[in-house]
Symmetry: D3
Subunit: 238 residues, 6 copies
């Protein structure tokens, strides 16, 4: 099975880190192909960045030849996810969808830790759009260093998230935590050593859910929301 | 007061028709400047089209010089609205927001008529994202002819919508109708002659709400969701 | 355009202060006529007071001759608002509706500051009744001096509200604040100098929304909730 | 135990009919005292009528001497209910509250049949305000003859309601019906002979819930929403 | 009237204590018969215990001969409540249902205090299942000593709950408290001396609601959710 | 990987049919072990049956030796699911959870087809309990022949479900269907030939989700809802 792991931002170091996590999670026989949205934003850190990512992402993934068996969208956000589902004929799942989906049978209410305070409303909108509002106890943020200094989270972020998790347990009784940003994914292993609360790393969840969909022969419903767009592709611009 | 009326799609005939409606609704002293998203999709008829519109729209509006007093986004959808609010320092309102907002004090539950069955889930997501789920009785569709044949609705669409409104009253008790697509806006006057149910034409609503915001000195809150993006503009791509 | 600004309580000093705010917000050519509910309660500070206001308010406004172009109900509450909409044939909007309506496009979640702890449940009911529950982060209270000592808020209340806003940002991430009581409206200007969070002053919002409705030819839907009452007026008592 | 059964409208024939139903439902030793809101509207058939009822109702019940053991508000609506709870120091329950409350343990989702199509939005607002939205399958209406012709429902209304109940079962799967208007209460017995769906008659429910509260020593909480109004009674007007 | 007060756990001391509370709350002429689920769990302290209680409870109550006039299920939880309603032809009400039902007309938002932190999610699920989510401000826990040491709460638990109530008022503005576990019921009287917030003791509520149902001739609707199971009893196992 | 597929009812023919479906869906290397709840009900067709299944199910699965790598609960319902999660230290997922979870990224709103009209409220409660209310368009029923005549659905049920799906599309715009009962699972393949709407067969979904959880090292959170019950096992009865 060949999965494209598509990073909606243009930072190849994040694609590479996600691909390592994806390969560690994949079943035997699953091939992970990293893809970077080279014309996208450096990072999806705002609605403006989200709007910047969607168009080159949908174009790039529509043009993949040969088409993969499935696409995992490796950003914890929206950035054109529904448009990709319309354009492709294979399973498409974002890591945000996959993580929340797997959280549901495992907990009472999950919390999401995101990468900056300004991403809290963005993430709350995402939770609501997917319909998980009643299962989400809270969205909180840690503060990451600037992207150029450190694209990925490490031990110190793990400790900060662990402290935030203790506050979340005390204040909201959340009993599972999702890492809500790919820059955080690399600290998942370190974090698990610091807390008894289950920590979902979304890239791994995305791979597992995509594999499940491929194996079960599922793809986004073409009879409604995700039907192919009505006009020829060129009518939507380059 | 100078308002830019920004059409998220690339079809100038729609921009022109909306500008006529906008000028008819504007207060004395308000200047309406039409703007077409020339690199955008021919029409926003899918999530793919929505993803296609957002990037050129945010770039084009960020670069307006001199900046207008306010921007009215003249598409009944999402297509980067929040990104435009982050990027500009003036009031920004989409016609979908404006229409739903003005409907609230006028009715028990509004219905939205959109331009194609496949736009019903798109529009339901929009209603939910704005938090108006409890005030929206239903989203329904009429079928428009192809864009090239007739970019704008006319008398026959008005009659079809009038019939749909009667069905909506009987089935859902909606007591106000919003025209959920700019291609429908041109038939608002004809439609009002055919039904006792109030019909909101969103372009006019967008102008009125933008004027209100300018006069009251309001703009999107910069302390939370709509704060300016953190990176230099070029980090988000061209 | 002639707008009646109707104060549901009997305190003329509040009517006068609201009229000053209303005139400052009105467009050129809008005439603001203050109206005091002389048989109403001294202030709407309870459900009992709300019940006391509604009947004389609906009688007084129904009898206005000549009818105005629109009515702005200048109390942050319910007190017969729907009954006034049924009785009149012009736009009617309460300042609570108008403020929440204009807040929606400007923020992620608004907070409301009201005039006494006991008004928090009253205001929460109002938010729910209008369907804005998902957009309202919290309702909080400051404590005003007795009405006879100081009918209107001043600099010290502005400072207290500014402190409450900082708490609200930290605890609820609200990114816009509505002043939920006309006694608070007079401190809006002072408050804006003390906080970066946008502050909506509802009387100004009410004027702007009423002007928009008049210009667009809108009035409450007569086909459903706000249809004219079925019996002759005298059947409802004096 | 002495219960005042307070009819919010001015039609004594309705008070009398309700008192008969109340006495039939009361426990041994409960004394039912009918009370008519003589300055109220002929019937609560609109928001205007609701606003007309509230003020004389709160005045009249506050002045009852000696105070009863509890008050049952015998109208299926709002009309100042919360204000009466603030003003009195005994249990106060409206028949709408009592009926919905008793329906909860008895069914999956209840339906309400009201007295005219225009009362559907009024009743939906009432259901939402009490927080029963998820348990209410639908609100429907039958059409009653004019008040003067027939203040109370009889056999033909019972047959019409029975037909409506069959439609409700088929369309919404409601498994219990509440008669949402005191004019309908008199046909409850006839209706029960026509349908297998349980029918709640709200006056009886109100008596039973009030008796329960008196026996358990409960009254509306005075530490929050229903605390006594802060000003002297005369400050609220006659 | 003969009411069976059915304790879903196997601890007879709890049954006895509940029966005393029930008799104190009952109307004259009501006979309370305690029943202990002897094959059930020692206490319902987990979902596992809930699953352990349901089967012997439904068997035991189905076999009661002669059938009582009503059954009050004296545990603050689920444990087969709907199954008992299906199996019997008399009113069946759980004390959790009864307490929330009576709370609705008495307060703005109630809080529930339960018997251990781990019972908070269990209780939140119960509140949601009954549809009371919008009326419940919070679920909190006190910590009880082990069952064998002290099956029932006393003065020290009353003091601890009183402190928790003060925190709840300050943090959530809850204006009524329900004791969410029969082990807590015995401290209700002591607790009422310590707080101005109304305290609902659910066993008493259950008796009062059951009496109301018997008097009004109500029982769970047999046309939908609570219809008799379709197979012969023995098909469901011993 | 060794998965126990646990049928909550006592009908071995259903276990066998489910095991065939499970093996067809399983990844290479996954071993499916069928388990029948021999002391359970013949079928879970009511809340009484649900209550009958839970206790022997939790006992039987707790005693599995050696413990499997994961448990898939092969009934579309509740029947002690949370209790099994508390009792075991491996992933536990019900097929209802798994199907709804996988539906979320694939559609706008799913519908569930269940096995009898009386199971509609049961299934609606299940959807609500999992928090999927906003994503579920409707629950509908087909009528199955008696269990002894035909434990499993075949071609005629497939045709009936296909007709129901067309009604659902027209009336609710659901764009994906879940088969809500294991008796229906055997007709999934036949059904897919009759409709363009994606059909989720929950047993396959359960296997795929359980495999994902095992591979990712996930199990129900032990820090909250699903912590091990506090008392020794024998305190909960045999």
């Amino acid at each position: 099975m060949r999965l494209v792991l598509a990073n909606p931002n243009a930072t190849a170091a994040i694609t590479d880190a996600c691909a390592i996590l994806a390969r560690a999670a994949a079943a035997p026989g699953t091939d992970i192909v990293g893809w970077t949205n080279r014309d996208g934003p450096a990072v999806v850190d705002s609605f403006y960045a989200d709007a910047s990512a969607a168009r080159p992402l949908t174009r790039g993934l529509r043009g993949l030849a040969p088409p993969p068996d499935a696409v995992v969208l490796a950003g914890f956000g929206s950035y054109g996810t529904a448009g990709v589902k319309e354009a492709l004929e294979v399973p498409v799942v974002s890591i945000a969808e996959a993580a929340m989906v797997l959280a549901v049978p495992l907990c009472h209410r999950f919390a999401i830790v995101t990468t900056a305070p300004r991403m809290i409303p963005y993430t709350e909108d995402l939770v609501d759009a997917l319909g998980f509002g009643r299962r989400c106890a809270a969205v909180r943020a840690v503060t990451l260093p600037p992207l150029e200094a450190a694209p990925l989270a490490g031990a110190s972020e793990a400790r900060e998230i662990a402290r935030e998790i203790e506050r979340l347990r005390a204040e909201t009784r959340a009993d599972l935590v999702i890492l809500g940003g790919t820059r955080l994914s690399t600290c998942a292993a370190a974090l698990r050593a610091l807390t008894a609360v289950p920590v979902l790393e979304p890239v791994a969840c995305g791979v597992a859910v995509a594999e499940a969909m491929v194996r079960l022969g599922l793809r986004p419903s073409a009879v409604g929301k995700f039907a192919r767009p009505p006009l020829p592709w060129e009518a939507y611009g380059q």
